[in-house]
């Protein structure tokens, strides 16, 4: 790699492509953040349904989770994008992708949540009942604070999967980081350099996320049984 700043060198070409790369990076981060938020909110709700719902609700949630875990993410994205269009719902590719990613990750969050709350000893729920807490308060003051430590590592993994999964949006034409890099390569043919640069950016995002998760986890270290 030549690190001087003349035309045709990597740094020069990267500088030339900075605007589109940054915009791609922005799209990647925005779509990831939106999907993570959707998956977390919907996943928690569905997790409650899985763990505590009436039998028919549990069955529905279980069906959804198994469905989402059995179909490849790419198929979900393509299905959402082309399928919705068929119903006359013209969702922009970006939103089709975010919906598909969010729906996919919801299943993972829900399943993790179920596992985590069921790992809290049964006596905790009983003690919370015994002092007269209603269901919502039992969850938010007693069960969740204890389940969160066990939920965190798989939640971080899901977040990483989402960030990586946003690359699939390039296949339906969303110009996120990977596609913006490929567009730059189409102009300058610096395939190796630009793929490495893109990979480095993904590693930076995900490594930061993983570290953040690990430091959060340490904050819950007071939870012992």
């Amino acid at each position: 790699m030549d690190f001087s700043m003349a035309p045709g060198t990597f740094l020069f070409e990267a500088w030339q492509a900075r605007a589109s790369l940054l915009s791609g990076l922005g799209v990647t981060m925005l779509s990831s953040a939106l999907s993570i938020v959707i998956a977390t909110v919907c996943g928690l709700a569905m997790g409650v349904a899985l763990a505590y719902g009436w039998w028919w609700l549990r069955l529905l949630a279980r069906l959804y989770v198994d469905l989402m875990r059995g179909i490849p993410l790419l198929v979900l994205i393509l299905f959402t994008y082309y399928g919705l269009a068929l119903f006359g719902i013209n969702v922009p590719a970006f939103w089709a992708g975010v919906i598909a990613l969010g729906a996919f990750a919801t299943a993972h969050v829900a399943e993790n949540f179920r596992g985590a709350v069921q790992s809290v000893p049964a006596g905790q729920m009983e003690a919370a009942k015994a002092i007269g807490l209603t269901f919502g308060k039992r969850l938010s003051y007693v069960i969740l604070p204890q389940a969160v430590r066990r939920m965190l590592p798989p939640w971080v993994n899901t977040a990483l999967e989402i960030v990586k999964g946003t690359t699939l949006l390039s296949i339906i034409g969303v110009v996120e980081l990977l596609l913006s890099a490929q567009q730059a390569m189409a102009r300058n043919y610096m395939i190796i350099d630009f793929y490495l640069l893109t990979a480095a950016l993904y590693v930076a995002i995900n490594f930061t996320l993983a570290q953040l998760g690990a430091s959060l986890e340490r904050r819950f270290s007071y939870l012992r049984y």
């Binding site: 059995g70 490849p72 393509l78 990586k164 946003t166 296949i171 793929y195 993904y202």
Partner: protein, 222 residues
């Protein structure tokens, strides 16, 4: 569903194509799992070797793969390797290489956890009857670890099978690529995606069932 009329004949007409595509995807997943397992096993031993010059590169490899999108890896090897004059790989082989490298990192973690969870007394018992180091590995540690990690290996196989859908991005004619091709020719989007989703689901389910049988078989030997 405003004006859409289902016409399932498109599936019947393309049944052979879809079957071939499904089998190709399964084959890609199995081959990648096998190569990935070899990579993962070597990497896991390097990781637990206690030698920094062995374990540090493996750590970097695992973290890099964990943080890098598979699609990027696929493109990088497919478009990038020819830049290094590696031109003898066709797109399918290039994809298998990507998926194997990807699987290797995950399998490394699986095997590392497996090695760590082998009860000490097995190793001690193996020493006590005078087995040499490689014999201890081959006759005691590996078989025990294989049993411990079987469920994780199975989950990885299912994940890899779903990941074969990304081969569509470099035009490997597996299920997702074939579906898009049929769609482009016939516009029977709903029929095709529903069928393909069902095929993926059914295959994942079948793999899971087979694994459960395998696990039960090994559990009963105990």
């Amino acid at each position: 569903m405003i004006d859409y009329h289902f016409d399932w004949s498109v599936i019947a007409r393309n049944a052979g194509k879809l079957t071939d595509a499904l089998l190709l995807g399964l084959g890609l997943a199995v081959v990648s799992l096998l190569i990935g397992s070899v990579i993962g096993l070597l990497a896991a031993y390097a990781r637990v070797s206690g030698k920094a010059w062995l374990s540090a590169p493996v750590w970097a490899y695992v973290e890099f793969i964990r943080c890098t999108p598979l699609l990027l890896l696929i493109f990088f090897l497919y478009f990038g390797l020819p830049e290094f004059d590696v031109t003898f790989l066709d797109k399918t082989q290039s994809f298998v290489l990507s998926l194997s490298l990807y699987a290797g990192a995950y399998m490394c973690e699986v095997f590392r956890a497996g090695l760590a969870s082998i009860p000490k007394q097995y190793v001690e018992a193996a020493k006590a009857i005078g087995l040499r180091p490689w014999q201890r590995q081959a006759y005691v540690i590996l078989p025990v670890m294989f049993r411990i990690t079987l469920p994780s290996i199975g989950n990885n196989l299912i994940s890899l099978f779903k990941d074969t859908s990304l081969a569509a991005a470099i035009a490997v004619p597996e299920l997702t690529f074939t579906a898009r091709q049929i769609n482009a020719n016939t516009f029977r989007v709903m029929e095709v995606w529903l069928t393909v989703s069902a095929l993926y689901l059914a295959s994942a389910y079948l793999i899971a069932m087979m694994l459960r049988l395998l696990e039960r078989r090994y559990a009963s030997i105990r």
